[in-house]
């Protein structure tokens, strides 16, 4: 039915020649999907500079081929220019599926592209599979209370955005080689109807990137106030990790939104996630369930977090955490 539609595409989100993690993460699960149907995995790079280096990076992380579009008009992201590029490329090459990171940019670009191509898009996916040549897109809905498996069986290309932090990057293979195709696509300036006139950074630069952290010590309502993060910071420091928070603590104003894990915050995938005084609302779990090991510390033995955790201690975090910190310190 769709013989002419072949290959899986991953859009490598980048700014000023630097790739965001999510595109590289996506090359990992899509590599396996492409192999399962004997198709190529193609990375798409759109930027104003350093596209050759971006393409090489994409190959190291698993792409067979990279299509590169370079131009001054792509220096900063605009809906109109980027949709134009992907639409032109998709018409020419007819991919079977396009994967885009579910970042602010991806969730702006994905639906615009889907409506232009007139195809189905599944947003904010957390799991991917292949079924008879169709991608099975799994995504949460109802604030994380429900998971849905979605197919786009009668339209090509299939489109989806995938949540950052859900998949882990593959180990880069420095010896891997791939084909780089340069496509000359210009978007006339009058086609770009939005213009960024000012960029303001409000997140302080000393806030760690919790999406990258290997160890997270996270605090919720049970922390009781901003000063409560002191004991968590010490444990995080002893373990070489960072602190994080649940929505309850952020909404109470105890800690900045940049630390928030969950449906309305960030999705994290550390090796160890220690949830302290966090009840384990489904919206929070949606943001941390892909951690390798989850440890819960909570006074309430009935707390939902114990259903999610691998290991739990029933007790007061202000008693348990300092002892745990001491024990960890002794061992290092």
């Amino acid at each position: 039915m769709f013989e002419e539609y072949k290959n899986l595409w991953v859009y490598i989100e980048s700014s000023n020649g630097v790739a965001a993690n999510v595109g590289l993460e996506l090359l990992n699960p899509t590599r396996a999907l492409a192999d399962s149907v004997n198709e190529k995995l193609v990375a798409i790079v759109i930027d104003s500079k350093d596209t050759e280096a971006l393409a090489q990076t994409a190959i190291k992380y698993g792409a067979d081929e990279v299509i590169v579009v370079e131009g001054e008009e792509y220096a900063s992201y605009s809906t109109d220019a980027y949709t134009n590029v992907l639409n032109v490329l998709a018409e020419k090459y007819k991919p079977s599926a396009i994967f885009i990171g579910a970042t602010n940019r991806g969730r702006d670009l994905g639906p615009r592209l889907a409506a232009r191509v007139k195809t189905g898009l599944t947003a904010d996916c957390t799991s991917l599979a292949m079924d008879n040549g169709n991608i099975v897109w799994t995504r949460p809905a109802f604030g994380g209370n429900l998971m849905a498996n979605i197919l786009c069986p009668e339209h090509r290309p299939q489109l989806g955005t995938v949540r950052p932090g859900v998949f882990k990057k593959a180990e880069p293979d420095e010896h891997r080689v791939g084909n780089i195709i340069k496509e000359d696509i210009t978007t006339p300036l009058e086609m770009i109807r939005t213009k960024i006139v000012d960029i303001v950074t409000t997140v302080s630069s000393d806030v760690p990137n919790i999406e990258e952290a290997e160890i997270l010590v996270s605090g919720g309502a049970g922390v009781g106030g901003p000063e409560g993060y002191g004991v968590l910071k010490e444990l995080a420091l002893a373990m070489g990790g960072s602190i994080a928070a649940s929505r309850a603590a952020v909404d109470a104003g105890w800690i900045d939104h940049a630390y928030q894990v969950g449906q309305t915050g960030k999705t994290v995938g550390p090796k160890i996630y220690i949830a302290c005084g966090i009840s384990g609302a489904i919206q929070h779990v949606a943001g941390m369930s892909s951690a390798d090991v989850i440890i819960a510390i909570n006074k309430d033995p009935e707390a939902n977090i114990f259903k999610v955790a691998d290991y739990g201690i029933v007790g007061d975090l202000f008693e348990v955490v300092p002892i745990l910190t001491e024990e960890i310190k002794k061992r290092r």
Partner: protein, 262 residues
């Protein structure tokens, strides 16, 4: 300045619980509300109207009961409300929904701004807004925190980013999707509620608008829901509760050691 705001009536998903015995959502007794992000969009629209004059129209697609959500919008500053309701629209995915809404907006007249909430809290897709913009061939600015319009028709949008915000300039007509704003949506006064109750809500069907019905409803929807399920829980947690915190920690450490986790 004529603004149209798309609103959706949604179940209050923060009230939804999972029945772990049957692994299904407990929907009974869960109230229906105006999608919170749409309420922010409406507040931004009403503030613009108060500043520059003009009208605010609200449009919803859904069953008859969605009139309650539209009445709520009328009580907090919307001037006119339309409900898009037709059996032919049932089962629409985001592409079909956005096509139907865009067709209705096109038939309703000219608007300077179309506003949507960032996403609905039931579907959580954040797709319908940008897709409407594409169908109408107008620029979009997503993740808007606030917006203003200049004399010469420029739209200035404060757009939320991962590290702060950007000021983005575009021109009318444009579509904005609105995130949680820095201000709270206003509450309706009793008087406004009574007045809203008396206002008519025009019901629009596929007969009233120019639309290609092959692009609406189930058959116009490229995505198909194969199955839904509640997220799996681990269920094999090791929960430690010794006499003292020290004993609990010691036990945890020895397990973590054994499994080479630390």
């Amino acid at each position: 300045m004529d603004i149209l705001v798309c609103v959706k009536q949604v179940p209050d998903t923060t009230e939804i619980k999972i029945n772990y015995e049957t692994n299904t959502l407990i929907r009974e007794g869960v109230p229906s509300i105006v999608n919170p992000f749409d309420a922010y969009a409406l507040e931004v629209a009403v503030r613009l109207k108060e500043k520059h004059g003009g009208t605010v129209t609200v449009l919803s697609m859904g069953p008859d009961q969605a009139k309650a959500a539209l009445k709520e919008c009328l009580s907090v500053g919307a001037d006119k409300a339309y409900l898009l309701s037709d059996r032919a629209f049932g089962g629409s995915d985001t592409l079909a929904t956005s096509y139907i809404l865009a067709s209705a907006i096109h038939s309703l007249g000219k608007f300077d701004l179309i506003m949507c909430g960032k996403q609905a809290i039931d579907g959580d897709t954040a797709q319908v807004g940008p897709e409407i913009a594409e169908h109408l061939d107008i620029p979009q600015v997503t993740y808007a925190l606030d917006a203003d319009v200049t004399e010469d028709g420029k739209v200035i949008v404060k757009k939320e980013t991962e590290t702060g915000y950007e000021m983005v300039e575009t021109q009318i007509p444009a579509l904005l999707t609105v995130v949680k704003t820095e201000f709270e949506p206003r509450m309706a006064s009793v008087k406004a509620k009574i007045a809203a109750n008396r206002k008519p809500i025009d019901v629009i069907t596929s007969q009233d608008i120019t639309i290609d019905l092959s692009r609406a409803g189930l058959k116009g929807s490229p995505t198909k829901v194969k199955k839904t399920y509640t997220p799996p829980m681990k269920g094999d947690s090791v929960v430690i509760k010794e006499e003292t915190a020290k004993e609990s920690v010691d036990k945890l450490i020895s397990i973590l050691d054994e499994k080479s986790i630390i």
